[in-house]
């Protein structure tokens, strides 16, 4: 197993290199760069000073250099000193900008993903075991409604409810008094009170699809002969369903871990904008629009890395869950 993981990590390196190259290339594809946007914003008001200023900036950031030189500067700084470059727009190092928001994003994403899995898992199992019952139709209906309602609308409605009936401040993850306060029990509780809206909004969207996946998987497994074998042993119905078919229906669930990781960062941009959440989504959106090249590039690179890590994680999890999958014993059984 360890050998397998080591080999996989090694193979990841060239993939990473290609991803970084591609992301840097894509960032530079749109005509112009941040300075063009910047100059357009400054307008004609003292054009001469601006031109000198711009030239200085261009020099400083190496924007007049050819592609490969720029790329080399960017990537070598990341690899050697973890320096992701400067954000033009925020005039701060990219890393400080990202890490700030990353913790909250991760927290929000992990909580809502777990919540979604929990809900989808229970409902999916129920609807499969009681296929075509009233309960099945009811929960399927609820799931599809959740899928059909646009996230931002649900976010607006929940925000209204929380403001109108619970008297909470609108949007964000913190009340104004805690916004810049250091971490404390009070702040944590405040975060908790604000978090349920985005968690519900994000989870309902994903739950519908996951319920259907779980239901379909489980329906396949429920009528397999080993279920009958377990029944013939005299096991209790719910216990045998949990031990055998549910266990086997989990595999496709696990495989999706790979692509949930990157959506932790990029996902739910619209919800984050509507709810004014201090997460990475809106930051990425803004960086892309203003051609804040190092910031956007770092994001995209990070998404690539997360995808790779996620895939590796789900492969390892699968091997751990399903003894039929043996990675390191290729061809010898």
């Amino acid at each position: 197993m360890l050998r397998y993981i080591a080999r996989r990590v090694l193979v990841m390196l060239p993939t990473l290199f290609l991803i970084s190259l591609a992301s840097f290339f894509i960032i530079q594809l749109p005509p112009g760069d941040f300075l063009t946007t910047y100059a357009a914003g400054m307008g004609a008001q003292d054009a001469i000073v601006a031109r000198e200023h711009l030239a200085a900036l261009e020099e400083r950031y190496g924007l007049n250099q050819p592609f490969h030189v720029q790329y080399w500067q960017w990537i070598s700084n990341i690899v050697c000193c973890g320096d992701f470059g400067q954000s033009f727009e925020w005039r701060r190092p990219v890393s400080s900008l990202i890490w700030d928001r990353l913790t909250l994003t991760m927290l929000l994403a992990v909580v809502s993903t777990l919540f979604m899995w929990f809900v989808a898992f229970l409902i999916g199992t129920y609807t499969a075991v009681r296929q075509y019952s009233i309960g099945d139709y009811f929960w399927t209906f609820v799931g599809f409604v959740g899928l059909a309602i646009p996230n931002f609308l649900l976010a607006l409605v929940l925000m209204y409810i929380s403001f109108r009936y619970f008297g909470q401040s609108v949007g964000g993850l913190f009340s104004p008094e805690y916004q810049n306060a250091p971490w404390s029990i009070g702040k944590l509780w405040d975060l908790f009170q604000h978090m349920w809206i985005p968690v519900i909004v994000i989870a309902t969207a994903g739950a519908a699809g996951t319920i259907r996946i779980m239901r379909a998987n489980l329906l396949d497994e429920l009528h397999r002969p080993y279920t009958t074998t377990a029944r013939a042993k005299g096991m209790q119905e719910w216990r045998l369903i949990a031990k055998y078919p549910v266990r086997l229906a989990l595999n496709p669930f696990i495989s999706t871990v790979g692509w949930t990781l990157p959506t932790l960062i990029s996902g739910e941009i619209i919800v984050s904008v509507v709810l004014d959440l201090p997460t990475t989504g809106p930051l990425l959106l803004r960086a892309l629009r203003s051609q804040d090249m190092y910031l956007a590039g770092s994001f995209i690179l990070m998404l690539g890395v997360l995808t790779l890590i996620g895939t590796l994680l789900s492969d390892i999890l699968l091997a751990w869950l399903d003894p039929r999958i043996q990675y390191d014993k290729v061809g010898s059984r």
């Binding site: 009958t228 074998t229 013939a232």
Partner: protein
Amino acid sequence: MQAAVGADLAQDSLLSVRSLKTQFPVDQGLVKAVDGASFEIRRGSTLCVVGESGCGKSVTARSILQIVDRPGRVVGGEMLFRRRLRNGSALTGEEEIVDLAKLDPKGAEIRDIRGRDIAMIFQEPMTSLSPVHTIGDQIVEAVHVHENLSKAEAKDRAVDVLQRVGVPKPKQRFDSYPFQLSGGLRQRAMIAMALVCNPVLLIADEPTTALDVTTQAQILELMHELQADYGMAIMFITHDLGVVAEMADDVVVMYLGLAVERGDVRSIFHNPQHPYTRALLRSIPKLGLGARTGPRTRLDTIRGMVPDPYNRPAGCPFHNRCDEFMPGTCDRIVPPPIQFGDRREVRCLLHGGAEEDTR
């Protein structure tokens, strides 16, 4: 016990199935998979159930344990079973008679019988064992469901049974997954799982069909030995008449959910009464001197196919394939069971029953 009934059961009889009806209400119509089958299983003996595919053998077996897949359900008949009474997990030596047909398929009472008094093994040892649990885990589970043993005791018991069914290195095999075993070993593990609670009746649903001939012979031999050791009765479902000749004490011939003929193995083979039984026996390929009736004779087959289950023929279910079809009688009257001699019964209008007219 609400399901206990009066002693309406012969002393040597372990399970008496009477007019069993199991039906599947599906969208296309009502499938009467078992439609009035009757037979007896005697203590410690082997009953073979034979018939073509789709004639309700497996459903009959599953009906006994009330594990018919949804939407199937036992809708009528009786299944009187002589159950050993227990005080805790020790046998008291006394018995009571339970009607399995009256038990709730999800109830605790039938669950207590499943795996403990009546165990079952299945056709495909690969798909009938969970691929992601070790065989040890699956065997030990059967112990834990019924008996209050510690983990170590249950494991010892499982290893013992594995050894008994001829699994080499049972301690190591205990931790094997089904895909790591050969087909024969898998079926042995399956048998071990069924025997681990010492059942009085083992239902074997075509246990050798998926195996090659050599392995098949070994498994049959093993079942013979185990029956002698454990003293259990076996209900053996097969479509292989060679296996029947080797295993059976009694035989039930099933056709379209009906037990058309039953009796001891000798009289069934030497003196078959039902045209279907005769046709089945004629369709066995013969080797050796006796087979040389001509330079090249074609093997007899039964013409036609088992009818569509949604569209059962009226009267005798076999009439449209029968060589001795009597128009106006066989397609009108459902043949009543006709007894003759010891445990011998046939449902064919050739032997009478036509006078009693329609039911």
